[in-house]
């Protein structure tokens, strides 16, 4: 047994999974090990196999910290703050070009006379979207993610400070156009709403399943263009529910207003309950 820490060096099974000696010439982290997790090893942790007798004093620390822990902690704080204010928060996610901002502009035009609304806009660059929202008469904060591919809870928490939140209102967070990364980052919202337009492929739910799994509502947008494209709405909804059986679906058009009464009713029911 390893005298440094009692990690069980010398056990044949442990030797087979031992670290290779560190390549110090490279002055780089040598990333070598990808192996199945056995959970907590009976003696010592996963790094126990790294020990060599006579290597000198080595200290092993059990850490157990979530890599997304900081984001999740900030998301919990955002959620508590929004709940405290009685605000209903939606995280709008889609590919670029699915029509999030146009949908939002029409939604706000209908909603702003009835309930308070605010918008946090996420884009890689520019404040064009926030300007479109402000032109619709609704307070908006723009976040530019720069090299980042998604909004995170910390930036949203910062943006919340700039908004005059009041009970019964609805906060729309328009995420960066990306169907991959935003699925992993909780922002503190009540629901993720995924928007898929009929000018995209109807099998997108199968190609980007994490996002459709994380969402509670899917809006099939640009439904007015259906006569001009080959998009099977029934198949699309079927694929989406294969990934997420509890997903609610509404067919809408930000241009014609089709489906908006149902969409607005869904928002207002959520805002009343918040």
């Amino acid at each position: 047994m390893c005298v440094t820490c009692g990690c069980g060096h010398g056990v044949p099974e442990a030797r087979t999974a031992r670290y290779q000696p560190l390549d110090r010439q490279r002055r780089r982290p040598l990333i070598m090990g990808v192996r199945p997790s056995r959970g907590a090893a009976p003696i010592g942790g996963p790094l126990a196999m790294a020990h060599e007798p006579g290597l000198g004093a080595v200290q092993r620390l059990r850490i157990e910290r979530e890599i997304l822990g900081r984001n999740n902690g900030e998301a919990r704080r955002n959620r508590a703050r929004l709940k405290h204010h009685g605000v209903f928060a939606l995280n709008l996610v889609s590919s670029p070009g699915a029509g999030k901002t146009s949908l939002l502009v029409r939604t706000l035009a209908a909603l702003k006379a009835r309930i308070p609304a605010w918008v946090i806009e996420g884009d890689q660059a520019s404040s064009r979207d926030a300007e479109r929202i402000r032109n619709a008469g609704v307070p908006a904060v723009q976040i530019n993610t720069g090299k980042g591919c998604h909004l995170d809870a910390h930036r949203v928490g910062w943006a919340l400070q700039g908004l005059p939140l009041e009970a019964g209102g609805v906060l729309f967070i328009e995420n960066v156009g990306n169907l991959v990364c935003p699925a992993a980052f909780d922002l503190g919202e009540d629901h993720k709403v995924v928007i898929l337009s009929v000018t995209e492929g109807d099998d997108k739910p199968l190609k980007y399943p994490d996002m459709f799994h994380a969402a509670d509502l899917m809006l099939v947008n640009k439904i007015d263009l259906l006569p001009y494209v080959t998009f099977d709405v029934g198949a699309c909804i079927g694929y989406a529910r294969d990934v997420n059986p509890r997903l609610a679906v509404l067919e809408v058009s930000a241009t014609s207003g089709q489906g908006f009464p149902e969409w607005l009713a869904w928002i207002e029911a959520g805002a009343r309950a918040a």
Binding site: Y19, Q20, L22, R24, R27, R28, P29, L30, I31, M32, G33, V34, R35, P36, S37, R38, G45, P46, L47, A50, L55, G56, A57, V58, Q59, R60, L61, R62, I63, E64, R65, E66, I67, L68, G69, R70, N71, G148, C149, H150, D152, N178, V180, C181, A183, A184, F185, P209, D210, H213, D242, V243, N244, P245
Partner: protein, 113 residues
């Protein structure tokens, strides 16, 4: 795409833990990566190469511990292996399998010398 963010988060966790224990050279890091966590292991390795360079963990051996996906069927109650988060129960065909393992994304251990 967000593996770079995750690598930065790994470094932050390692730096904080090292500081808390008065350590200034990290020689090993073990990370549990669930197969259902939506992380590309190769991309994470590449990102760690970039992010750890020049840090207190620049010489660290990093081991990714792969946690296979498992879940319990909410209809038949069987515990089953899952290749994706959305697999139907292989025993009864029910789509509602609650994930019990495989979502891990955790720095579990580090070593300093």
């Amino acid at each position: 795409m967000h593996e770079y963010f995750m690598a930065e988060s790994v470094l932050r966790i390692v730096e904080e833990s090292a500081r808390a224990h008065g350590l200034n050279r990290v020689t090993g890091i073990a990370i549990e990566v669930g197969e259902l966590a939506g992380v590309d292991r190769e991309a994470l390795q590449l990102a760690l190469h970039v992010v750890l360079a020049g840090s207190i963990a620049q010489e660290a051996c990093v081991t990714l511990l792969v946690v296979p996906g498992r879940g319990r069927c909410t209809r038949c109650g069987r515990v089953v292996a899952l290749a994706t988060r959305y697999d139907v129960c292989p025993a009864c065909g029910h789509p509602g399998v609650a994930v019990t393992r495989g979502s891990e994304l955790t720095v579990v251990e580090m070593e300093a010398g």
